[in-house]
């Protein structure tokens, strides 16, 4: 549904988005990750037609965003960052207006409005002015606006930003439910969200895509993926590390904790270990008193940091 090819955006001398390509199909939920200022919002604004791209193209449902912007925008539902809404309207008036501008009239409009009001739990504030709404309600009002025409493509810029945990949960559920039939892009810097909602994730840093895959695949990139944590009793930590280094699959061993006769170490696998490390270590340690032997899953936050941090660190050093 969405196809982005070599998209670029230059602000003055700064390349905010640099050669970004990806595609999202129906039934996919793409998480758009990255540190603040990485170019997430700029990319999203180009896809939704708010910013003209400096280079490259994007198509939505086969319509080019520059050549046929109106047709492309018809297919998109968009929740901008910070969920703006006309403060001088009531919630009902605002939804009616957005439905009308999406081409819904008469009965179709009434139905569309009452559908999203129900979906986003807005009955209580329906005739309240947007100005007086709490942040959560204003957010949901703007979200309701984005799904009022039941779009095929949904673009959400930080949809859970500023919501309380319950509301976050609700929004995630909603996204996951709708993701079954639509193509969804949403940006976030909250990593747990990726696991909770996405079928695929892209990490973008300084305008470039630095990782692209399912949350599972991304986790595999972590040094932690397949690492083994071992806790034994009554052995010196030096003896444990020495022994573990003899295991062929082990790349590196670190001592996590060494207190009161309990030693905890973590062994990181060489590439290609494919999860066989835990067994190998179990065998190597069979004559010790093992208190814990645990294979680690990869950790997204660690992947995220390792991919995006080096650059930031360099920048600071300069």
């Amino acid at each position: 549904m969405i196809k982005v090819q070599n998209l670029a955006k230059v602000f003055g001398t700064k390349r905010a988005v640099d050669d970004v390509s990806f595609s999202v199909g129906r039934g996919e939920v793409l998480g758009f990750l990255g540190p603040n200022g990485a170019g997430k919002s700029t990319t999203i604004r180009m896809i939704t037609g708010f910013l003209p791209p400096s280079g490259g193209t994007a198509t939505v449902g086969g319509f080019d965003i520059v050549e046929e912007p109106i047709q492309a925008r018809r297919l998109i539902g968009y929740l901008p960052e910070n969920a703006p809404a006309y403060t001088d309207m009531t919630v009902h008036g605002f939804l009616k207006f957005t439905a009308e501008i999406r081409g819904l009239r008469g009965d179709a409009r009434k139905k569309a409005v009452s559908r999203v009001v129900e979906m986003c739990f807005l009955e209580a504030v329906l005739h309240q002015s947007v100005e007086t709404l709490s942040k959560g309600f204003r957010h949901r009002t703007c979200f309701a606006q984005s799904i009022i025409h039941d779009p095929d493509v949904l673009v959400l810029d930080e949809p859970t930003d500023g919501l309380d945990p319950n509301q976050k949960h609700e929004v995630r559920q909603l996204i996951r439910r709708m993701g079954e039939k639509k193509a969804i892009i949403f940006s976030t810097h909250i990593l747990e969200e990726v696991d909770a909602v996405c079928s695929r994730a892209i990490i973008i840093d300084r305008g470039k895509i630095v990782a692209n895959g399912t949350p599972q695949e991304l986790r595999q990139k972590s040094e932690w993926a397949g690492a083994v944590t071992l806790r034994v009793k009554g052995v010196a930590s030096s003896a444990v590390t020495a022994k573990l280094y003899q295991v062929p699959l082990v790349k590196r061993v670190t001592v996590v904790d060494d207190k009161g006769g309990h030693v905890t170490v973590r062994a990181f696998p060489k590439s290609g270990a494919n999860g066989a490390l835990a067994q190998a270590i179990g065998e190597a340690a069979h004559d010790w008193q093992i208190e814990q032997l645990q294979a680690e899953e990869g950790r997204l936050d660690e992947v995220f940091r390792s991919i995006t941090m080096p650059d930031t660190a360099k920048e600071v050093a300069q």
């Binding site: 910070n82 008036g93 501008i101 999406r102």
Partner: protein, 248 residues
Amino acid sequence: MNSWRNVWTITKRELGAYFMSPLAYVFIVIFLLLCGFFTFFVGGFFERQEASLVRPFFDWHPWFYLFLVPAVGMRLWAEERRVGTIELLLTMPITAWQAIVGKFLASWLFLALALVLTFPVVITVNYLGDPDNGVILTAYLGSWLMAGAYLAISCITSALTRSQVVSFIISLVVCLFLILAGFPPVINVLQQLDAPRLVDMVTSFSVMTHFEGFQKGVLDSRDILFFLSVIGFSLFTTSVILRTHRAG
């Protein structure tokens, strides 16, 4: 067909927005008070002893509009920018032109309403004497066109900034130039330069010069064209500003 529907949707929303805030009522009340005060006291309506609205009533309009029209137009784009709804509006399946025209029309209709509400003045003059109502109607039309020209300029300044106050001040200054270019004291100074062409050129840019004809009851196509082209040009400039601002 479809595009006019979109324009009308925007216009309806904008008009609704005016009446949701106290600004609209305050504006109308101030406008009517000013009209009444200037017509009957400062303009010397009764002392003139003639059944005409040209001098006591319409003469003041360019000056009222100088303050009131930028106040009506200042929020059009500045507010969208400040709240961020501009991102919502311009990613809807409408063209920027439809949004610009829709917003402009809403404010222009609002000004028309304010003008229509001055009808007691017309009734008064008709009760007291026997005025030429054709002239009054033409002058009303001219006044409305002039308000449209001011308003279109306010659209530009509103699109330039996210601050309504800045927009108000800039458009006030620009509109002041449009008035002064045809203001007698200014013309006198220019005439001393002994360059009749220059005088003609400068005065032809003034709303005063072009409003004059309407006040006399003359519908000159050049005058109508002047106001319409100011409106067209300003709205076009607004669209350029909106586009380049987005381009960064």
